[in-house]
């Protein structure tokens, strides 16, 4: 079974010596398939704007996110990447003053339709956060939290092992599953959070700068992991690291922040959305080119 083969490669050993494999795989743009065999849309974002009170954080975003691809959202700080990401699983609902205009269709269903329950959305669309945020519980209980919440009963050993294997963490923690997750290193905690998200078997995983709190080795492992699980999941990742976007993503969206004339606020706009390879080699918009070549932002 392909996933297992991949897992074995990824988690072969806990020692750092295997990590540089990631760095050896330097993908030249031509390695990236121009378009995966089947481009099945998962999300269709249509003219989306997000407001916090009267302040418009992002405006008029339209884009399509396809199945089993990694889509990266890049751009300078304050350009609304994270705000947009949090619309995909309705995490913005937790901010009382946040309001969404426009549509996000998930398999053709409007996520913001009044009958849609955010709880159901989040069971299908998982999230990994900027800072690793394991629960102050055991490693085992961290993984089983989601399945239990989803109503799965009985023995969870299998789910725990499978999730941890997929997140390339099994070999490092299999002997201390009952120990607190707080005792893991930052990179291990983040992989635990990924394993925790995978445990409920979501279709989409949203990642909000998942490596920004990690060192380069831990970052490499997370990137490897994304590559491995991509065959089964759709991933949307916000990143500040352009090399990371270039390395891992199939599609890339570049956002920038427009200063509003009437007030001293900034509103994010989508400048360009295309295949990653094109975005980094031959972008159509001058602003994208300036950003990816480091002349701006």
């Amino acid at each position: 079974m392909p996933p297992e083969a991949k897992t074995a490669q990824g988690s072969g050993s806990g020692s750092p010596s295997v990590v540089p494999t990631r760095l050896e795989i330097k993908r030249s743009p031509s390695d990236v398939p121009l378009s995966p065999p089947e481009d099945v849309p998962v999300f269709q974002v249509d003219d989306l704007s997000v407001y916090y009170g009267s302040f418009r954080a992002v405006r008029d975003v339209s884009m399509t996110v396809c199945e089993r691809q990694i889509t990266s959202l890049i751009g300078p700080s304050g350009c609304g990447k994270t705000t947009l990401l949090r619309c995909f699983n309705r995490m913005n609902d937790l901010v009382e003053i946040a309001r969404v205009a426009g549509k996000i269709l998930y398999h053709g269903v409007d996520l913001y339709h009044p009958d849609v329950n955010a709880v159901e959305v989040r069971r299908r669309i998982g999230m990994v956060f900027q800072k690793p945020n394991p629960f102050p519980k055991s490693i085992y209980d961290n993984i089983t939290f989601g399945p239990k919440v989803a109503g799965i009963k009985g023995n969870m050993d299998e789910i725990v092992e499978r999730s941890l294997r997929r997140a390339a963490l099994w070999d490092e923690v299999k002997d201390r599953l009952k120990e607190s997750a707080m005792g893991l290193s930052g990179g291990q905690q983040q992989r635990l959070c990924i394993a925790r998200a995978l445990a409920v078997d979501p279709e989409v995983i949203l990642m909000d700068e998942p490596c920004s709190a990690l060192d380069p080795i831990a970052t490499g492992r997370i990137e490897d992991l994304m590559e491995e699980i991509k065959s089964e999941y759709t991933i949307i990742i916000v990143t500040h690291n352009m090399q990371q976007a270039a390395r891992v993503s199939d599609m890339c969206a570049f956002f920038t922040a427009e200063v509003n004339e009437t007030s001293d606020t900034r509103t994010g706009v989508l400048v360009e959305y295309d295949k990653t390879e094109k975005m980094f080699s031959n972008p159509s918009d001058e602003r994208t080119e300036n950003y990816v070549t480091g002349r701006f932002g």
Partner: protein, 313 residues
């Protein structure tokens, strides 16, 4: 070379020594503040010393058999500590039966469910409730809680009874439990809430399985502080539990009763000279010492719990 303003009279050690007068003034001010701080420590120490001395007199001179008799009647030299200790325990238990669920519920609501606008109104109201003079609550316990709640539950109940006093104390303690409990839950990092919601957990699941376990030490502290406050409460019990002169040993919460605090109050306020019979006066200090030890250890215990919460995140 231009002379600097500060050194227009030439530069020497005196230039950097500063003005004598100001240096002295600084020292005086420092001494005043030190005195203020020292005074409060001295006063507290003297209180503890007095308590200890009179307690010592009582313990060494009392006929020990009188400490375990049929009731607490200090004027007849019957000092059954059991009676008032059990009274305190009963009132505190009833108070916590009221305050724990109410306070906890309010804390969960304020911390997890209330919209910011609602919280901005409810929290101050709760704190005002905490500021109700206990004599008012005591009166309320006597004229309303006792006939309308306690005597309806048990028609045999006396008008003055421990149950009404306990409920009154519970109402008094609820805002305290709610406020400390809410602080503990709000201190749980937002990242943990997001992790839970991001997994598709509902609010109630997040509260029960993530927030409360993470805040457990703070919640325990809230209860302990509530217990400590309930034990120390005097006025409600003095008014609503009756038994001002003394009390027979009894475990019946529907009867008159006396707590350690109310016993002290009624003795100290008694018109017919506390000094009367032998050690009556010293027994006040004895009970005071016991109370002091109980609440001090509870507070120290709670303090350690709160500290543990702070360290975790």
């Amino acid at each position: 070379m231009a002379q600097r303003l500060a050194d227009r009279d030439g530069f020497s050690l005196a230039s950097l020594a500063g003005e004598r007068r100001r240096v002295r003034k600084e020292a005086v001010i420092r001494a005043l503040f030190l005195a203020a701080a020292a005074l409060s420590i001295v006063i507290s120490s003297l209180i503890v010393f007095t308590l200890a001395r009179e307690t010592y007199t009582f313990v060494t001179q009392v006929d020990l058999s009188k400490l375990w008799s049929e009731g607490w009647f200090p004027r007849r030299a019957l000092y059954d500590v059991r009676t008032i200790f059990v009274g305190s325990v009963l009132v505190t238990l009833i108070a916590m039966v009221v305050a724990a669920p109410l306070g906890m519920g309010a804390a969960v609501y304020l911390s997890e469910y209330a919209k910011p606008r609602v919280r901005r109104v409810v929290k101050p109201v709760l704190e005002i409730l905490a500021g109700i003079p206990s004599v008012v609550l005591g009166f309320f316990a006597l004229v309303w809680i006792s006939p309308e709640i306690v005597q309806r539950l048990n028609s045999e109940a006396a008008l003055f009874n421990l149950a009404a006093a306990g409920i009154g104390v519970g109402i008094l303690v609820t805002p305290l439990v709610a406020s400390v409990g809410e602080d503990a839950m709000r201190a749980v990092p937002k990242a943990l809430r997001e992790a839970s919601y991001g997994m598709g957990a509902r609010k109630v699941t997040t509260t029960i399985r993530v927030i409360i376990p993470a805040a457990v030490s703070g919640l325990v502290a809230a209860f302990i502080i509530g217990i400590s406050r309930a034990i120390g409460e005097t006025m409600v019990v003095a008014i609503a539990a009756g038994a001002s002169g003394g009390s027979l040993f009894s475990l019946n919460i529907f009867e008159r009763g006396q707590t350690m605090t109310a016993a002290m109050a009624s003795m100290a306020a008694g018109t017919d000279a506390v000094k009367g019979a032998g050690l009556t006066f010293q027994s006040l200090f004895f009970v005071g010492s016991l109370l002091f030890i109980i609440t001090l250890s509870l507070n120290l215990f709670a303090d350690r719990f709160v500290r543990r919460v702070r360290q975790r995140y």
